[in-house]
């Protein structure tokens, strides 16, 4: 039977395909080895380093926090955070799409993806920023605060040398994915907070640092925006901030696009 198969056309096709696959893999391996073997070229003294342009920013991942059985902050008058942030997200999405940006939401309905699922949605995108939307329980009503991950992680017991990212093998630890993006996140937070402070009286002029759990596992510039608060008398009091919020976020992302492309991330 084997002898018959040797002389057949299918056998020939299998041989040709096998050779093609093996050759392709060998070429890829050799190319990767060459890239690793060649040391980085030091620039000549006095020479200007060419500007390394990064990928263009073309995706915004919007994260309406909570959802499902997790209603988030709950006000005394029955205002819940989870449906509110979904409304905010729809308006922000429209503003961003008007700029030609692609928008991905971590949830579009009343579901509650885990922190890691939300991060996975962001980490699957290329050329993206991540914006998590929240409404607080406390704080003066009508103010908006922007948060980014602290740049120095007090949390690590490991020596500072081990904290350089990506690590030597090019891998990025999932639970510290935000660390190399902290400076870029800070820049995005500054732009957003400046725009929001102009729009919403009493909001701080500069963003705050906070170890927000959701941001820690996002491998992209990431910020959290929190609106105060569910303690307002009527839901409409918060919804009237929607257009202003959407405009400010779109304005901040537009200002951040050249920063992103210049390789600040």
């Amino acid at each position: 039977m084997l002898g018959k198969f040797h002389n057949s056309l299918p056998f020939l096709i299998v041989c040709v395909m096998g050779a093609a696959v093996t050759g392709g893999l060998a070429w890829r391996g050799a190319f990767a080895a060459r890239r690793q073997a060649s040391p980085p070229q030091a620039p000549a003294p006095g020479a200007t380093a060419p500007q390394q342009a990064g990928p263009a920013l073309n995706v915004v991942v919007l994260d309406p926090a909570h959802g499902g059985s997790d209603l988030g902050a709950r006000g005394a008058t029955g205002i819940d955070e989870a449906p509110l942030v979904l409304d905010f997200a729809r308006a922000v999405r429209a503003s961003l799409e008007a700029q030609g940006l692609r928008v991905v939401q971590t949830r579009i309905g009343d579901e509650d993806p885990s922190f890691d699922d939300r991060s996975a949605t962001a980490n699957a995108q290329r050329g993206a920023v991540f914006i998590s939307l929240h409404v607080s329980s406390t704080g003066p009503n009508g103010q908006v605060r922007v948060y980014s991950e602290p740049q120095a992680i007090a949390s690590d017991a490991t020596p500072p040398a081990a904290l350089s990212f990506p690590s030597q093998n090019g891998m990025l630890p999932w639970d510290r994915a935000q660390t190399p993006y902290a400076a870029a996140s800070r820049k995005l937070a500054e732009l957003a907070q400046a725009a929001l402070a102009q729009k919403f009286a009493g909001s701080p002029g500069i963003p705050m640092y906070s170890s927000v759990r959701q941001l820690r596992t996002v491998a992209a510039p990431a910020i959290a925006i929190e609106i105060s608060s569910v303690s307002v008398a009527k839901r409409e009091d918060l919804l009237q901030m929607t257009n202003g919020l959407a405009d400010c976020v779109a304005q901040a992302v537009a200002a951040f696009r050249p920063v992103y492309q210049a390789g600040a991330h």
Partner: protein, 209 residues
Amino acid sequence: MSTRARYAVMALMLAVVIGAFYLPRLWRSVRSLGTPAETEEQARRAIAQTPVATSSDVKASAQMFWISPTNSTSLSPVDIQLPLSADPAQRCRQLLAALATQAPMATMRTLPTDTELLALYLLPDGTAIADFGDSISTGTPSGILSEQLVVDSMTQTLAASVPQVHRLKILLQGQEADTLAGHLDLTGFFAVGIPAPPTAPAPATTGVQ
């Protein structure tokens, strides 16, 4: 009166005397059935709660950080007199207990009043590990701002009175928790006594709504 009737009256009187002794005890037993028994949670707290005061305590001035009465988004220091131990771990326990219970006004409170510190250990490298009961999580209003203020009030209060502490690790029920109340990451450590980055900057004055 016949002899039989006399015996009957004597037996009746004896029964009344015995009843007079027995009835109060019976009444107490019936009343105790109405009061709820100590719950498992209360029993656990009673065992876990170590006395905060010790015989070596001296009354000292402690700087506590509670929510500012003029700005609900930031903390402000308040000096109070507290019996404080010379032992840094015990001092941490006393400060955190006071932080939860001795705020001058309810609006200045950062930690829920029923916060229970189950245990606190101080490692030689200056890491304080504070293990709280669930009430700190369930009693803290959900939100980045409110959760950040809880942690900041602890770290700033410890920094002011316990120079041996350099960082704080928060556990809930003896376990590492993902978040305090849905937002703030508890998987890491919080710096104590290091100038913190801005967490509550002054509000912008140029805003128009």
